[in-house]
């Protein structure tokens, strides 16, 4: 038996509410607002209370997909990553670094956003990186 409550931060709006994800044997079974959260002080909105539901939705993407003969088909990670890297390399070698663009994301962590813009700028060589700040 493995029962844990993991303190974390909400993924919806910009309030930054803290809650515990209640995990039983590797599955999240509930959300409990943290009394110690500076923004929410033990309270949550309807989206926050149910935030664990989408995480384990059967609709989640679980395998990489690659378009073959017009259709997206499941492939291995190696195949998907090799394809992505080699196509990026081909396109930017032929048309220059600025022929590629990157959408960072307000849904990613700081660390991941840092990495995607570093990747665009240092690995690909373009400043074409933006996200939905305006939307």
């Amino acid at each position: 038996m493995d029962y844990r409550t993991v303190p974390t931060t909400c993924t919806y709006c910009g309030c930054g509410c803290n809650f515990f994800l209640e995990v039983l044997d590797g599955r999240i079974i509930g959300t409990i607002p943290s009394k110690s959260g500076p923004a929410n002080q033990g309270k949550l909105c309807i989206k926050g209370w149910h935030v664990h539901q989408f995480v384990q939705s059967p609709e989640r993407l679980t395998r990489p997909l690659l378009r073959k003969n017009g259709n997206l088909s499941e492939v291995s990670w190696d195949e998907a990553l090799d394809y992505t890297a080699s196509r990026l390399k081909e396109i930017t070698s032929a048309h220059g670094s600025d022929s590629a663009g990157f959408f960072a994301s307000a849904k990613l962590t700081n660390e991941e956003n840092y990495l995607i813009q570093k990747f665009a700028r240092a690995a690909v060589g373009t400043n074409n990186v933006d996200h939905c700040a305006r939307l």
């Binding site: 999240i28 959260g37 500076p38 989206k47 991941e112």
Partner: protein
């Protein structure tokens, strides 16, 4: 936000403009409720009678896109009645005279004509706001998503400076950021013109700094914004697009145009947690991990850096997004070898002055608010305490301009868009949450009963809504929430996607689309 969420509850006056706070930032609404309980005056300016408006001391429903005129009118009254803060203006600001010359041209009568708000109500707003010891402005996308988005924000800054409501507790000009980590994505340099910490890509010093930190040759050309990238795909100058955790096909204005652009890509990579409409068009779809499956940090609307902690393993074969990026970078020949998010944060702190003092061991509990420049710094509750970043606060002289699209005979109704309390953005997450879906399974068009009667439309009727960009079908909700001549649609629902209709006209400075105003025609669906 210049100030912090908790400070809102001690403001003597709260001016909410363009924010459906109880739906979109419910835990900020909590603080508004408390302030009101303590006797604060609550002013709400919103074209719709949103929930928070029903609780206000004064609610004004100004015409769509007339925020600058309304704010100039309020400031006109404040100046006319000598309610402005002379010493603050003298000591802390500049540009006042040019600003005043423009404000003089906005007497309440004229403003009433433009905005539809009576001169009496303009006077009351001015009085409530200017007479309060501490007044806090809260705004959201109702202010920014306009072709005059920057003008709107600058006008709010003018109002706060005019009355000295900045740089102290429970005051300020406070944008409520719509996405959990939009603040962080900006701070981390997820923007075409700046490196992390807003260091410009086209300044030699910062370029050199990052070239040495990253051991790479960097471009000094400012990159493309999202709308420009989409145009680039249309004209062929952009060939490859890598999208992480976004759904532009639904979230960007004029979906038909976006679809054409995305289909033009030679390589479209989409990294996401669900099969979004955008992912359907991709060449490669990479399954990322949700927030519950990884460690990291988010930065909330009050600049507070908060820990995200892994609760479960990524579902199926999905992987954390940082690992995916690292793997691709290594394949491209640019080596990355982080052992985890904590190590990445160490690098962030080293190159980002405002995050200089941030490390995981300091982020337990309530986290830290940036600027936090060094390991001893306690973080910053509110900004501009001892002066503005640029020295003196600059008044901007701003004239009112009409929205890019206005109603006419063919498209006689003003349409605006927004969120509802149970759904979020393009619905990718909330519509996959059974409890939320049950609460609101489908989209709707809000319409005033007078318009409905004129068009012979009853509650729940299916109507077609048409703009210059396209047509969608949706059910009607007949309500007093919008005034005659205005309709509203939430944009969460792919079957009746509001952004098929919205106008891809942008603020010239920051390229924010005018989601909040377009012209439409409504007909009973065949």
């Amino acid at each position: 936000m210049t100030n912090s969420i908790a400070e809102v509850e001690d403001a003597e006056c709260i001016f909410v403009i363009g924010s459906n706070t109880t739906s979109s930032h419910p835990l900020v609404a909590t603080r508004i409720f408390r302030a009101k309980e303590k006797g604060a005056k609550l002013i709400v300016a919103d074209p719709r009678e949103v929930h928070i408006a029903k609780l206000a001391d004064l609610h004004v429903q100004h015409n769509l896109g007339t925020d600058v005129a309304l704010l100039n009118g309020i400031m006109h009254v404040i100046l006319e009645r000598n309610w402005h803060d002379r010493s603050f203006i003298e000591e802390r600001t500049e540009g006042f005279d040019d600003f005043k010359r423009v404000i003089d041209r906005y007497p309440p009568d004229k403003v009433a004509e433009i905005t539809g708000v009576s001169p009496e109500d303009i006077l009351r707003i001015a009085e409530y706001y200017a007479s309060a010891g501490t007044a806090s402005i809260l705004y959201c996308m109702g202010i920014t998503q306009h072709t005059t988005g920057v003008d709107n924000v600058k006008s709010l800054a003018n109002l706060a400076m005019l009355t000295g409501n900045v740089g102290k507790e429970s005051t300020g000009v406070n944008p409520l950021r719509g996405q959990n980590n939009v603040q962080g994505a900006c701070d981390m340099g997820g923007l075409p013109n700046v490196y992390p910490g807003y260091q410009p890509v086209n300044m030699l010093d910062s370029q050199k700094k990052f070239e040495s930190a990253w051991n790479a040759t960097l471009s000094d050309r400012v990159g493309l914004t999202i709308p420009d990238m989409l145009s680039g795909l249309m004209d062929g100058s952009l060939k490859a697009l890598y999208v992480i955790g976004e759904n532009p096909l639904m979230s960007d204005p004029d979906s038909h145009h976006v679809e054409k652009a995305l289909k033009g890509a030679e390589l479209l990579v989409v990294q996401d947690i669900f099969m979004t409409p955008t992912a359907e068009l991709a060449h490669v779809v990479l399954p990322g991990a949700s927030f519950a499956e990884k460690d990291g940090t988010f930065t909330n609307t009050e600049r507070r850096v908060l820990r995200v902690r892994k609760a479960i393993e990524p579902v199926g074969e999905s992987r954390t997004d940082w690992e995916i990026i690292q793997d691709i970078s290594n394949r491209l020949g640019y080596a990355m070898d982080y052992d985890g998010p904590e190590e990445i944060m160490k690098e962030i702190a080293a190159v980002t002055p405002s995050y200089g003092g941030i490390s995981y061991d300091r982020l337990e509990g309530p986290g830290l608010q940036w600027p936090c420049p060094d390991p001893e710094h306690p973080g910053t509750k509110f900004l501009h305490k001892d002066g503005f970043a640029r020295g003196k606060g600059l008044f901007h002289a701003i004239e009112y301009q009409e929205p890019a699209e206005v109603v006419d005979e063919e498209y006689p109704l003003w349409m605006t868009t927004g969120r509802v309390h149970v759904h979020y953005h393009t619905g990718t997450m909330t519509r996959n949450s059974p409890s939320l879906h049950a609460e609101m399974p489908e989209g709707y068009l809000e319409m005033n009963h007078r318009d409905a009667a004129r068009l012979g439309i009853c509650q729940g009727d299916l109507v077609s809504v048409t703009s210059r960009r396209g047509t969608i079908n949706v059910k009607t909700q007949i309500t007093e929430r919008v005034r005659e001549g205005v309709v509203f649609m939430p944009f969460h629902f792919v079957e009746s996607s509001a952004n098929v209709l919205t106008n891809p006209a942008y603020d010239p400075v920051v390229k924010i689309p005018e989601y909040k105003v377009c012209a439409v025609r409504v007909e009973k669906a065949a």
